[in-house]
């Protein structure tokens, strides 16, 4: 029976991009129908979980917090004090609610990547990081324009304080890095990390099955492969937290740059 199961699993080896595109749940089993798949379901689960947790734990806030309230406050307090205020300054409190929402959304969705039996992060589909990156992009430009006025903002963002003869070189570079690369780097960084993480786990898990399937003598190496899967899951946990943090910090940093009065 074990061999039968491993045969089935090994069939998918080596893992490919197609492993990220699971069949639709509703209508059941249909390919190329993306409205209700495992990934979109997980997005909704994440949203529901975060909302329910916060509403329940913060329904009756007390001065001396309960344990649940304390956890909810810590999440907000962490982003508020360690990211928003730290990066943007006192004005950052204004952005703390959005940044916290962003952080929690990415963190929980990333976390699905290592939850046993789920082990699939929606963030490994570029559509979701892209949405978040576009929001960050629009937000920092809007904030900058409102703070400085549209014309002055672009002047501020594009023209660094440099001798005039370097400006023809610097302005395109600034434009490229500030207004073209930023949303892509944000989206791709998160997506690629999650994608690669999932791929790594797939390779080591399925590779173990593939080897034991090919030759029973390779069983010890299969075992090693599975142990490595566990280790990689722990590493993945680090990446999950780090990427959620990085995405939030970069968004805060872009907002800070847009609000800054000089370079």
């Amino acid at each position: 029976m074990v061999i039968g199961q491993s045969t089935v699993l090994a069939a998918a080896f080596p893992p490919s991009v197609e492993d990220f595109y699971l069949p639709s749940i509703l209508p059941w089993g249909e390919h190329d129908n993306y409205w209700f798949t495992k990934v979109t379901l997980l997005i909704w689960v994440a949203v529901a979980a975060i909302i329910i947790f916060f509403l329940v734990s913060y329904r009756k806030p007390k001065l001396v917090p309960t344990k649940k309230q304390w956890i909810a406050e810590s999440a907000y307090g962490f982003v508020r004090n360690n990211i928003a205020v730290e990066m943007i300054g006192p004005a950052g409190v204004r952005f703390a609610p959005y940044l916290t929402t962003l952080f929690l959304f990415i963190l929980v969705n990333n976390f699905f990547g290592i939850v046993p039996l789920i082990q699939m992060s929606p963030m490994s589909h570029i559509a979701f990081p892209a949405v978040l990156a576009v929001i960050s992009y629009v937000m920092f430009i809007y904030v900058g324009m409102r703070h400085h006025g549209p014309l002055k903002y672009f002047k501020h963002a594009l023209i660094p304080p440099a001798p005039w003869f370097i400006l023809p070189l610097l302005i395109p570079i600034e434009f490229f890095s500030n207004f073209l690369v930023r949303p892509f780097s944000l989206a791709v960084r998160l997506f690629a990390n999650m994608f690669a993480g999932h791929m790594l786990l797939l390779v080591f898990t399925l590779g173990g099955f593939a080897m034991i399937n090919a030759n029973v003598l390779l069983a010890p190496i299969s075992l090693l492969s599975w142990v490595l899967t566990v280790a990689l899951t722990l590493l993945e946990f680090l990446v999950i937290c780090l990427q959620a943090y990085v995405f939030t910090v970069l968004t805060a940093s872009y907002v800070q740059g847009a609000l800054a009065d000089e370079h």
Binding site: T7, A10, A11, A12, F13, P14, S16, V17, E18, F20, Y21, Y34, W35, V39, T40, I43, W44, A46, V47, I50, I51, F54, L55, Y58, P61, K62, L63, P65, A72, E73, Y76, G77, V93, A96, P97, Y98, T100, T101, L104, F105, P122, H125, I126, A127, F128, A130, V131, L132, I135, V188, F191, F195
Partner: protein, 185 residues
């Protein structure tokens, strides 16, 4: 198995992981919007309020303690001034009492002196009167004695009353002068 493997290979050309699926963009946007709406509208403002309330509670506690401390200090100061006042008052009363006692003493002393003076004066006066009366008695007695003596010595009664009286008067006057000169001597 090779077939399945090939199928997977073929499938790889179907999807490009870098191209977002528009349905997922829609779902992601809506889901994230819902999350943002709920958290930003209902949860985080509450948290800010709680943080603020907590800060106020702590600051209020500190302020109350400071007020109590200030009040205690004020009371202490008040007690101190009161104590100092009481001390000066006591000193003043003591001084007054001392002055009073001195006055009374002087008064009593004066009265006593006066009394003694009065008593002495009265004694002197009495003495003088007694001396005067004794002197008068003595004078008359001495006169009579002298006359008796003289009568006895002369052996005859002096008939002339007037002459006798004159003689006696003269004698006493002589005695007087002799007495005073003798007293001086």
């Amino acid at each position: 198995m090779i077939n399945l493997y090939l199928a997977a290979e073929e499938g790889a050309t179907e999807h490009n992981p870098i191209i977002p699926i528009w349905q997922e963009i829609v779902v992601g946007s809506v889901a994230f919007a819902v999350l943002c709406f709920v958290l930003i509208k209902f949860v985080f403002p509450q948290m800010e309020k709680t943080f603020q309330a907590r800060v106020e509670a702590i600051e209020g506690g500190i302020k109350r303690a400071e007020a109590a401390q200030a009040e205690a200090n004020e009371l202490l100061e008040q007690y101190r001034t009161q104590l100092a006042e009481a001390r000066t008052e006591a000193a003043r009363i003591r001084d007054e009492a001392r002055a009073d006692a001195e006055g009374i003493r002087q008064d009593v002393l004066g009265k006593a002196r006066e009394e003694s003076d009065r008593i002495i004066a009265a004694g002197n006066e009495q003495l003088a009167t007694q001396r005067e009366s004794i002197l008068r008695e003595l004078r008359s007695e001495v006169g009579t004695l002298a006359v008796d003596l003289a009568g006895k010595i002369v052996g005859e009664a002096l008939a002339d009353e007037a002459r006798t009286r004159g003689t006696v008067e003269r004698f006493i006057a002589d005695l007087d002068t002799a007495g005073t000169t003798g007293g001086r001597r």
